[in-house]
Symmetry: C2
Subunit: 190 residues, 2 copies
Amino acid sequence: MKEKISKREAIFYSHKMAQLSKALWKAIEKDWQDWIKPFQLNINEHHILWIAYHLKGASISEISKYGVMHVSTAFNFSKKMEERGLLQFSKRENDKRNTYVELTDPGIELLEATLNEYNPEDNSVLRGVMPMTEMYGKLPEFLDLSALIKEIYGDEYIEILERSLENIEEEPLVQQPTDIEDYKKKSRSS
Amino acid sequence: MKEKISKREAIFYSHKMAQLSKALWKAIEKDWQDWIKPFQLNINEHHILWIAYHLKGASISEISKYGVMHVSTAFNFSKKMEERGLLQFSKRENDKRNTYVELTDPGIELLEATLNEYNPEDNSVLRGVMPMTEMYGKLPEFLDLSALIKEIYGDEYIEILERSLENIEEEPLVQQPTDIEDYKKKSRSS
C-alpha cells in the first residue's frame, strides 16, 4: 500500500469516504427514525426485531454482528422488548451457550405493521437514486460499496444480509397497492 | 417512482442500503476514534477542527451542515474547544449574524499533529479497497455514492467537500513526523 499511495492521498481519500459515509448514514438514520417513531421503537429496537424476524430467530451475537451494534446494546434493547412482550429469549438444544431471540406474535404484528406503514416516497435514498435509476434503467447496485463491506466485515456479513433479503422476497409480508406478481415475474426474469 | 418500483422492492433496496451504510460508517467511526484518542478529542471535536482548518474559518452553520451534525452539537463542542484554547469565535464584518470559528495556533498545531499521526495501515477503508485498487489500477471512486449524496444534500455539500479536499492537496501540511509523546505532554499541561 505504501508504495502506491502517498500519505496525503490516503488522508484525502479516507476523509472523502468519511464525509460521504457519515452523510449517507445520517440521512438513512433520520428517515428510519421518522418511519418508526409512531410505533414507539428506536432504531436499535427496530433493527433487532427486523433481524430476528428475517432470520427466524437470531442469537444475540448474530444481532450484534449483523446489526453492527455492541453485544450489550443488542442484549439490553432485546431485554426491554422482552418486557414489552415483543420477543422472547430461548436456548437452542444444539447450542446451549448462546441466547436466542425470537419474536412473539405481538412482535411479529408490530414489525409487519411498520413494514406496511413504510412509504418509499419518504425515503431520501430512494428519492436520491431516481436520476441514476432513470439513467441506468435500474436501481444502482453500489457493487463497490458491497465489495468494500465484504472486505471489511467478511463474507459472513454479506451472507446474512443476503439471507435476510431473500426472506423479504419470499414472504408475503407486505400487502401493498402495487402488483407484486408482476414484480416477481420481472425479478425472476432479470 | 411508484410506477417502476414495488413497495417490496423499495423495502428490500432501502434495507440493503441501510445495512451497507451503517456498516461502513461504524467502521469509519471506529477507526477515527482510535486515530484521535491519544489527542483527547472526540470525533465531533476533531471534525470541527478539520472543517474550520480546511475552510480557513467556518461558521457554526457551515460546520453543522458540512459535518452533518446538529447546530447545537457544533456550537457546544466548539465552545468546549474554545475553553481549551484550540479555537476562537468571531463575527465577520460582512456577516454579523453568523458566528465564525477559527483555529488558534495551538488548534492548528493539534490538528496537524493528528494528521501527522495518521497511519493508512490502520484504516479499514483503505485496507478494504486494496483488492479493487489492484483490479482497477486506481482507488475506486464510488461515483454513484457521490452522486447519491449530491442528490440528498445538494450541490453545496459536494462543493464544500471538494473545496476542503483541494486544500489538502495544496497545503504542505503533512511533512514532519511529530513526536506524539511530546504533543501529549503539551496537551496535558494545557
